[in-house]
Symmetry: C2
Subunit: 498 residues, 2 copies
Amino acid sequence: MLEKIDLSKKMDKDTYKQVIGEQSERLGLLQRELRTAGIPVMIVFEGMGAAGKGTQINRLIQAMDPRGFEVFANSKATEEEQLRPFLWRFWTKTPADGRIAIFDRSWYRQVTIERFDGQIKEKNLPEAFQDILSFERQLDDGGMVIIKLFLYISQEEQKKRFKKLEDSKETSWRVTKDDWRRNKEYGRYLEINEEMLQKTDTERAPWSIIEATDKDYAAAKIMTLVADRFEAALREKAASKPEVSEKPPVKEERYQNGVLSGVDLTKTLTKEEYKKEIDRLQKRLEFLHSEIYRLRIPVVLGFEGWDAGGKGGAIKRLTSHLDPRGYRVNPTASPNDIEKVHHYLWRFWNNVPKAGHIAVFDRTWYGRVMVERIEGFCSEADWKRAYQEINEMEAHMANAGAVVIKFWLHIDKDEQERRFKERQQNPAKEWKITDEDWRNREKWDQYETAVNEMLVRTSTTYAPWVVVEGNCKYYARVKVLRTVVDALEERVKACGKK
Amino acid sequence: MLEKIDLSKKMDKDTYKQVIGEQSERLGLLQRELRTAGIPVMIVFEGMGAAGKGTQINRLIQAMDPRGFEVFANSKATEEEQLRPFLWRFWTKTPADGRIAIFDRSWYRQVTIERFDGQIKEKNLPEAFQDILSFERQLDDGGMVIIKLFLYISQEEQKKRFKKLEDSKETSWRVTKDDWRRNKEYGRYLEINEEMLQKTDTERAPWSIIEATDKDYAAAKIMTLVADRFEAALREKAASKPEVSEKPPVKEERYQNGVLSGVDLTKTLTKEEYKKEIDRLQKRLEFLHSEIYRLRIPVVLGFEGWDAGGKGGAIKRLTSHLDPRGYRVNPTASPNDIEKVHHYLWRFWNNVPKAGHIAVFDRTWYGRVMVERIEGFCSEADWKRAYQEINEMEAHMANAGAVVIKFWLHIDKDEQERRFKERQQNPAKEWKITDEDWRNREKWDQYETAVNEMLVRTSTTYAPWVVVEGNCKYYARVKVLRTVVDALEERVKACGKK
């Protein structure tokens, strides 16, 4: 692939000045149009060491309005970042609609430099490539423009540049032993990069190889290419028909009598049984919490369920004996202004727990396939795609070592009515019940169908759904705690054996 | 101070249950009222090791709605945090209006644990206390409620708790050598804490000592105390008269013929002089940029000036040869929704540069004493207080080693008109000029008076204002670059000598 590239390409000063002049103006204009159209863009700079990534990024941003972009330099992951799944630091940096994020090195570090350095095991490579591909596909599906540039220079050119940097005492510190190693073993490093380029060159996020021997040639090519992609994105957006959001009621037959209809809601515990058991489980959980901290196991617990299904009470019993430094409850309301202009998974990525910490989500990313589906807040294509996206996100967390469990707190319609009325009569709980709750209740059947489909499509071995029989609060709370305790117990034991 | 505290206080189970029941309900209610009233709260937990901070925080948050608070555990600063002024990691965590931030250890670490451990020099203590006091004063003036709790146990009690933790193999790792050292030298550590309590016990942010031997007693006291402070804050807010924002035109005589009237706007450079000089300065700056990176010097450059005064052009020449990994341009527009519900300095604190990096601000925190003052976006008390607040912020940055320079790009009224008209006639620049620019122009005299006052009140040795004669763009750009180059040159030399 790369050996076919002509690295001798040059551009004379006059042509360069003319091209840059034209393209700068064009870029400035297009950047404003992208902002108006609300199209987000990510531009990735990868390539050989000393190929001039810094210089090229700087020339590109000179043409743009600094109110619209950010540059992220991605060296080795920091302590904080190492404690999270590897895509975390990139997901959290995905730009809002209408904004541009420029990455100096990116999520490709793992499958290039870190692979060369042996920091990632060969057996983990397929997974890493898979994660990268689904990351880019998900963003593209969400409307992101992804521009990937690979700056290429020859072994000799690189050697010359390293030497020049080393010759001056002010810049010699910039050339590291690792740089030299990649130059000495240029062939092997090139092979790794070629494989990366081939495996991740997709239709929607293609790689562009930039011949970077001549900086002016490279700059002109990059600017023209970026402007072309901006223009294409604007054209595509203008041509796309607005999604018709008709909200046909959810009533797919095969999911009408699904998992939920088989749940045995008569299960109960007496107060005495409850007290004894909850006390034992809380003590055990307190101990396990300290064990998972010691073993650096991240834990993700998602809570969904009917309104008044008992999520809050269950979460309270779960956390009441835990050290607050090691857990966080993330409540999920309607997205705020900032969240609305990001990918729908972005706000959840922001709250992915550190290794050794527990993240409890009170309502979750499953809103996409429930309320957003039923209320028509997203298109049919959006929520249908979401099952896979969610499975991929949870798989990524699980691959990073996380225990992932999702609870559906299930009650029947009569029990809900009873609880709603009780809340209305209790001044301390009155605020918990709104007109919206009553309105949602009218859509019970639609929700039931959607939940049945969700449970089937997103219950996986690495992130199972646990349906909790919730008519008896005592029973429900004990089941939640026991499920968590058992899962942590098992994981801690497994870690101990390694 | 502390020896007068009776550490034998206890509470029996029944009283505890009753108090907690009442206070929990009260807290839940008050939290919702605080949210409605838009009052932000910070609760600080400090005190002796093993005094039960974690347990107490957990009991407190069980009574609150997780949608309204966050808990921050503050151990040693991370790599990222160490590269910034020490208050950065707390400023960025100050809660939005109506929200609560709970700190498990806080900005007091520096003057307690780190002082005991010798990580901070005694000669830097007065500065550290000063920074803490102004941090809290500024937040209080901005409407923040600050609740500070000191959990106190005796040397014997602490020893007993450490031993108990050590006795179990699951918890023994929690007790460190440092913990034991602070127990062995309890007297010395206590003295340090007493000094801290005395120096930072202010009327608006007082310390409450919590006798923490008995956990139930402590929990009941904390909850009651927090609820009382919430209630007092609500009462105070209800009683405060809304600021009358009359916008009397700015025309303080003593600032009418100030600094700006003496600026010599006839200074010019020819195109040839400009080209030669700018080229030399850019090369020099490129070199210095790499030196400040090596020496870990942070640089803060603020740009203010008349509309069309040439800020954008000057910033472009300043950055065009720099490595984008080492600088960032932060444009300042009207605050967005998130910024509006924080202290006005919060968004600038978020962009404080890392050591070794340059942060350029295109418009700055000085908006408070210019546009906000003139348009009545803040009260008279607010902008009058701002001079000190800004000086304190810049002093904090300078104390952390930053080079801080502010530029005022000055042109006269005729030159502005000429540039406005030129922009209107140029399709590529038309978007830069809006009706608001013309409206601001009508207030030229008010702005001039405000700027004169600002220049006098906030030009300091550690963060000087540089007025740039801007009628000739060539002259202005060279002056900006030369000022930056000279300042960095001097600082790099000074660092080299150490």
